[in-house]
């Protein structure tokens, strides 16, 4: 943890407006990006981003500079996203067992969208842990060690998740190519 980050957090904890703004400018875009990538909805991503920073503001006075602040923020964000995804699954299971999911399956979306959209659909179609791993490492550009800490798995497990995620994405994109006229 850098001296500068520790100073910035201490200043923000004491209520210095410039320090608060600097913390937000440094970290908010990546927090929002992670939430959006995990949840796929802008409003939900905004809500999670705000919840994450409310937790951050509460913890700042007691912040122990053992971990990187960005790693802590990512872990909180990921946990909030997991909660929301779990609740959505429970609602679907408990309240509407007869409901048919009208969302496109990844292969259907692949056939309909351009390649970039196909990749987004393929990522959305990955198992949750693989999606988290590829999002943290390939899109959020976290190191494997930081990503493993955020997901609370071993570095080896992270590597395995990443490899499976990339294979899944390659297969999905290859089938998209096959489906193109």
């Amino acid at each position: 943890v850098s001296q500068t980050e520790a100073q910035l957090i201490a200043r923000a904890a004491s209520g210095q407006p410039r320090a608060v703004e600097a913390l937000v400018n440094l970290h908010m875009p990546r927090v929002y990006a992670l939430a959006y990538r995990m949840l796929g909805q802008a409003q939900e991503a905004e809500d999670v981003t705000q919840e994450t920073f409310i937790k951050a503001w509460n913890i700042l006075p007691d912040w122990q500079p053992k971990a990187k602040f960005s790693t802590w923020l990512h872990r909180v964000t990921l946990n909030l996203c997991r909660d929301r995804l779990r609740k959505k699954r429970e609602v679907l299971t408990d309240e509407a067992p007869e409901m048919v999911d009208t969302a496109l399956r990844p292969d259907q979306a692949l056939a309909q969208n351009q390649r970039q959209s196909a990749l987004e659909a393929a990522i959305a179609g990955l198992p949750e842990r693989q999606r988290e791993a590829i999002t943290l490492c390939a899109l959020q550009e976290m190191t494997n060690i930081d990503a493993a800490e955020i997901m609370q798995v071993s570095v080896d497990a992270m590597e395995s998740l990443l490899a499976r995620a990339r294979r899944g994405l390659k297969a999905a994109l290859a089938s998209h190519e096959d489906l193109r006229p």
């Binding site: 400018n25 908010m28 875009p29 929002y32 990006a33 905004e46 705000q50 390939a138 590597e159 390659k170």
Partner: protein, 148 residues
């Protein structure tokens, strides 16, 4: 670093050595340089996906979200100057901190007086400016603010 391990790294992290674990990066690069023919297919296979993922990193942030989050930050408590002074010198009505503070003040004045003419630190506001300027990161490469 074995060829099998390097193939595993490419499989998991992609073709760019910068995305490999730092502790294995140099050894991986060295093996890649020594035996490029072993890894050509895996690298080509990985590069296509790497390029697609790199395009997805650009991201737009909703307009106004930053200021809403700043507004949620706790505001510093504003004490009246006399109350602050009283709490500083006489916490919970005790006298000994006032005596210690007075002694420290006296020593500080003496040291400060002897150091006149050797001051090199920036004035507070300039030091603050330098601190915050050093923090400014050009994340506009990947993030831009959009209207909603």
């Amino acid at each position: 670093m074995t060829p099998e391990r390097l193939l595993t790294l490419i499989d998991a992290y992609g073709a760019d050595p910068l995305s490999w674990p730092e502790v294995e990066r140099d050894a991986g690069r060295a093996l890649l340089t020594a035996k490029p023919e072993l890894f050509q297919e895996a690298l080509a296979n990985a590069r296509a996906l790497d390029a697609e993922l790199a395009e997805m990193r650009a991201f737009t942030v909703p307009s106004g979200l930053a200021s809403r989050i700043v507004d949620l930050a706790p505001q510093p408590e504003k004490e009246r100057p006399l109350t602050r002074l009283k709490n500083w010198f006489l916490p919970d009505g005790q006298l000994w901190p006032a005596a210690v503070t007075a002694a420290s003040l006296l020593v500080g004045v003496m040291v400060g007086y002897s150091a006149i003419g050797t001051e090199t630190a920036l004035p507070t506001s300039e030091a603050d400016d330098a601190f915050y300027t050093a923090l400014e990161t050009d994340y506009s490469v990947n993030f831009e603010e959009i209207g909603r």
